[in-house]
């Protein structure tokens, strides 16, 4: 403990001597504690990680994810997914998170989230959907991963912890002020190429339909999106990756059939808002 403090103090002193502004020094100190604290937090058997750290973690992971593919340069569609997403997330039990949504410039059909309230859908996914109710269901599924902390559960599993620990050690010994982000690069790439636990995917589907229903949408939007995916051939290169990291859409639909039964029939006639969706996303579609 003393040794760690001494190293941090020494590095901070170097930073001061090198002429960093006091804010930068403070941020640097926070990050040194941040990475190590993060590892301690995630390792904690009780599974607790405080919300500011969770958001910091998600932010760091997002830097790598958006480094892979940037946002589509369409402010209208970015604003639109934030309206839909913010409204759906407001119905969750964590409405106070700083929810952020984006469409990234990828033709692959997918959507993913990071801790703390970050959600990305690909342009390819937007182009397979038919209505705002379907988008609400897909965003609801991702919001489900965030509110149930599925990524944190995956991070807690061995391999990721070792990577994060190694990153933290490298970060603490290094000179960069972005060591939290650097420490997260490996674990982020690893986590998002493996995918989450299958049961967590089924749980996120159930959260997705309920959040869409709470938001006043036709709750069958997510199943409708899955039906579209289910008919696309499994060897389609733009879907192969989604299929590998998720249970197949048919299995997800079967699980939803069990969970929904006739319990969602009372929302028959709830809006799908297909026109608003088509208008907001018109510039993403390839020319016919």
């Amino acid at each position: 403990m003393n040794a760690r403090f001494a190293v941090a103090a020494m590095l901070a002193a170097c930073c001061l001597l090198a002429g960093c502004a006091p804010e930068q020094t403070a941020a640097f100190m926070k990050n040194v504690g941040g990475v190590e604290g993060l590892v301690r937090n995630i390792k904690d058997a009780s599974g607790t990680i405080d919300e500011p750290r969770e958001i910091e973690l998600g932010h760091g992971m997002m830097e790598t994810l958006l480094g892979a593919r940037p946002l589509v340069p369409d402010a209208e569609v970015q604003r639109y997914v934030n309206f839909v997403g913010a409204w759906v997330a407001a119905q969750s039990d964590r409405p106070g998170l700083p929810w952020r949504f984006a469409v990234n410039d990828s033709d692959h059909v997918n959507a993913f989230a990071a801790p703390g309230g970050y959600v990305i859908v690909t342009k390819g996914m937007i182009n397979t959907l038919h209505s705002e109710a379907e988008l609400a269901g897909v965003l609801g599924h991702e919001i489900g991963h965030v509110i149930r902390k599925h990524h944190l559960a995956a991070l807690r599993k061995g391999a990721f912890m070792n990577l994060l620990g190694a990153g933290a050690a490298a970060g603490a010994a290094g000179k960069s002020s972005g060591e939290l982000v650097q420490a997260l690069v490996g674990p982020t790439k690893d986590l998002y190429s493996r995918g989450l636990d299958k049961d967590d995917e089924f749980e996120a589907d159930r959260v997705g339909i309920v959040l869409a229903a709470r938001a006043g949408y036709d709750p069958y939007g997510l199943p409708a999106a899955l039906q579209t995916l289910a008919k696309i051939k499994a060897d389609d290169p733009y879907l192969a990756l989604l299929f590998k990291t998720h249970p197949n859409p048919g299995a997800r639909l079967d699980q939803l059939a069990l969970a929904m039964g006739a319990g969602f029939d009372r929302f028959q006639g709830s809006p799908q808002n297909a026109d608003r969706f088509r208008y907001a996303t018109r510039n993403l579609r390839p020319p016919q």
């Binding site: 997002m62 830097e63 892979a68 593919r69 940037p70 946002l71 970015q78 309206f83 997403g85 913010a86 409204w87 407001a90 039990d93 952020r100 949504f101 990234n104 692959h108 997918n110 993913f112 038919h130 972005g178 650097q182 690069v185 190429s193 995918g195 989450l196 299958k198 089924f202 159930r206 309920v210 709470r214 938001a215 006043g216 069958y220 199943p223 409708a224 039906q227 008919k231 499994a234 192969a240 990756l241 990291t245 998720h246 249970p247 048919g250 079967d254 939803l256 059939a257 069990l258 969970a259 929904m260 006739a262 319990g263 029939d265 929302f267 028959q268 006639g269 809006p271 808002n273 608003r276």
Partner: protein, 176 residues
Amino acid sequence: MIDRMRRLCWLVASVAAVLAAPAWAQETGFTLRATDVKAKPFLDAELLAKLPEKTPVTVLVRQGGWMQIKVGETQGWVRMLSLRLGNPDPKQNDTSLLAAITRSSRPSANPTVTTGVRGFSEEDLKAAKPSPEEVAKMESFAVPPAGAAQFAVAGKLVAQRVAFVKADGKPEKEKK
């Protein structure tokens, strides 16, 4: 002349109707299990027909949890989750319930093993360099709660009280 005009109007109207229909209208599908065809999209509506498993159907439109279908001379409504789109194909993934249960009861301690990447190609992710600029851009599009509520009103969306559901459809216990 008037007749020709009328015919033209009818043609224009038909084309407009087709264009206005959801993009997946007139798809083919098939029944996953033995399924009732109802006159209206409600459980207690009149029963029109009973379809056996794997009956090919034409899907016309979706309304909530129901799909309007046509099979032979019969047109009616079936439960959406009793259907799959496309054609039954034995080479496709087995979507049977038994298969789903077998799959989902695999040991859950191991994350899904795959070389794929969620959302972009694996090469994109491997080569990724952190981009604080893109995250800052993402944050700049955030919508405050009041804005989301206004957006909901404009879309005729009314918030509902609905409990989260467990895998068997029973409500989850609410957190105190």
